[in-house]
Each structure stands twice: as C-alpha cells, then as structure tokens.
Amino acid sequence: MSSKVTPLDSLDWRDQIFAALKSADIRQIGYVPDAGHARLIELVHADPHIRAVSLTTEEEGIALAAGAWLGGQRAALLMQSSGVGNCINMLSLAKSCRFPLTILVTMRGEWAEFNPWQVAMGSKTQAALELMDVLVYRVEAEQDAAETVTAALDIAFNGSLATAVLLSQRLIGAKRWVK
C-alpha cells in the first residue's frame, strides 16, 4: 500500500475500520442501518469502488456475500445485534459452502441500555453466531477496532471461514433517548 496523507492512528476508530475494509479489498457492503454504523455507512456510500447494498433484513446480506464471492468480489456486512437473529438459517449457506464472511455487529442490550427489549437478542448474539460456527471476536476498546476487523477479514478470506466482530455497546456509546 502507498502511504496515505493521514496516519491511520490519528483517525477515528470508525474511519480506521473503513480503512481496514479498503485494505482487504472489500467491494460490496450489505447493511441494515444502525446508529453505531452510521459513520461507516456514510463512508461506504461515498466510496466509488464499494457497492453499498441496503438490505430489508440482515439475512439477505449472507446470501449477497455468497454471491459476491461466486462473482469474484469480497463482501462484508454491517448490522446491529438484533439482526444477527434474523440470519441464523441463512448462515447455513456460508457453513455448507464455506463461503468467506465477515459481519461487523454493533451491540445493543449489554451496556447502559435504555430499552429492555434489546437485551433478549443482545445477550444471545455471540451464542447465536457460535451456534452456527461463526468465529466471533469482540472489541471493547477503540484502539483494538481496526486490528480486530483486519484479523477477522484475514481468516475469513484466507481460510474460507465465517467471522463476526462484535463492537461493544460501551465502545459505541449508549443511545441517547431524550434529545
């Protein structure tokens, strides 16, 4: 890679994740919007070399990523923890065919959560992914974010494995309910 004007470590951690996706040559991003992913979604839409695919439900993304790989491109997915539950059966596609897959998950229901309805899925997100043999990494601190995403992408695309990076709610910051 040629050196960039802005050193990576001076960037916001979300921008660092975007740089990690670019370095891994990710060309399609499927997402269901989440406040925690807002910056990343903005960056993806602004990049002419990445196709941003807004999904109606998260499981669409598992199939999109499989298709991308069949067509010779790399895809990654952005979703909230609640959306992981929507993916379970579709993950059989990644598992049965050993499609490379990296899902970046913004966590809800685990830290300073206002809405108790988020706890049901948020508290089971990691277990649900592991039940389908998705390799799960967690990020608690800003300085670990990009490195962890890179590790997940590397093992996914070099090892034909499904991976997920859980971005903890403490890292993202609690949602403000009263503005």
Partner: protein, 193 residues
C-alpha cells in the same frame, strides 16, 4: 388463476436456457434446482440446496461482481415469497445484468403441494413492479418466455418474470449437493479463481 394457461416446468427451463451463451445461473432450493440439472449439470450453475429465500440475493451479489455477464436466478414461488424483501433490495440496486425468473405453480411442491400465497392473494409481477423492477412480465407461453430469454442475454435492465407453470412433479434430476464443490467449480468455470 386456476384457468390460466400454464407451462410444463421442464419445457420452460429448456426455453429459458436454449441459447445459454455466457449466462450465469443461480437456482433456488427444490424443484428449480432439479429443473436446471435436467438440462445437464453445468459448472456455471450455482444450485441452492437450502438457504430458502436466498436465491435472489445470491444472484444480486453475483450480478454486482460480474457486470460483464448476464445473471439469471431461477427459483420457485415459495423461495420468492420467503425472500420477498430481496425484490425491494434488487429494485434499489437495479443491476442491468440481473434477471429473476420465478417458476410459479402456487404450490410448495417439495413438501406435498400445499398452496402458497401466490395461489390466492399474491401477484408476484405486481410485487416486482412495486419494488421498482419495471421490466416485469407475467409469462404463460413459450413464445413470451423465449422473448424474455433473449432480453436476459441483452442485459439492458433488471428483469423479472413470473412464469406460470403446472403443479406437477417431474422425475427429480439431482445435481451435486456438496456446497464447497459447487462454489469452487463455479468460480473456476467463470474465471475468477
């Protein structure tokens, strides 16, 4: 619906792929996988043996990655109904090289011919149009299907066809089920690996 003319599904797949050219094919689980295999197994076919509701999105991923090739999804009404939202996603993306043909018998053939939603209330062509796929056709004869197949080759805009087929179960033709094999041979045969 019940009095409408309907095509034999094996005749229909034959017309769709009569002059296949460079078309990449994704099939939905169940009967449309057997239909594609009935023409002879082809490494440029990616057959889904599960992941119900996913055929259209697999096709979208391929179509975005391979703008140089026409991509044809052939799936059933059950798979299309389970992935109805993916038509909305396709409508937003509108890749010109993606075509979706839904073989609609209004039945879940694989599980005992139970009626699907398209047997009564749901019009898939209307759904596709409402999702922004303007080139959406209701097809019940071979001439119209052959015309659709030619449009697939031209890859000028996202296409959708609801193909009315008879609720019959012709003898199954089973292609390989090993997902890793299907994935790797598709990539090799299409020059991305």
């Amino acid at each position: 619906m019940t009095n409408q003319k309907r095509l034999d599904r094996r005749a229909a797949i034959g017309v769709l792929l009569a002059e296949r050219g460079d078309i990449l094919v994704v099939t939905g689980l169940g009967s449309t996988t057997y239909d594609a295999a009935s023409l002879g197994d082809d490494e440029r076919n990616f057959y889904l043996w599960g992941a119900m509701g996913g055929a259209t999105m697999v096709g979208l991923g391929v179509a975005i990655a391979r703008p140089d090739r026409p991509v044809l999804v052939v799936t059933g009404d059950g798979d299309a109904l389970m992935g109805l939202g993916s038509l909305a996603t396709v409508g937003v993306q509108s890749p010109p090289n993606l075509a979706i043909a839904v073989f609609d018998n209004g039945r879940y053939a694989e599980t005992g011919m139970q009626p699907s939603h398209t047997d009564s209330a749901v019009n898939l062509v209307g759904v596709a149009r409402s999702c922004g796929i303007e080139a959406a056709f209701d097809i019940a004869d071979e001439a119209a299907l052959a015309d659709f197949a030619r449009r697939v080759q031209r890859a000028e805009c996202t296409l959708f066809a609801r193909v009315a087929i008879l609720a019959e179960e012709p003898p199954r033709v089973l292609p390989p089920r090993d997902g890793v094999l299907l994935k790797n041979r598709f990539r090799r045969a299409t020059g991305v690996e």
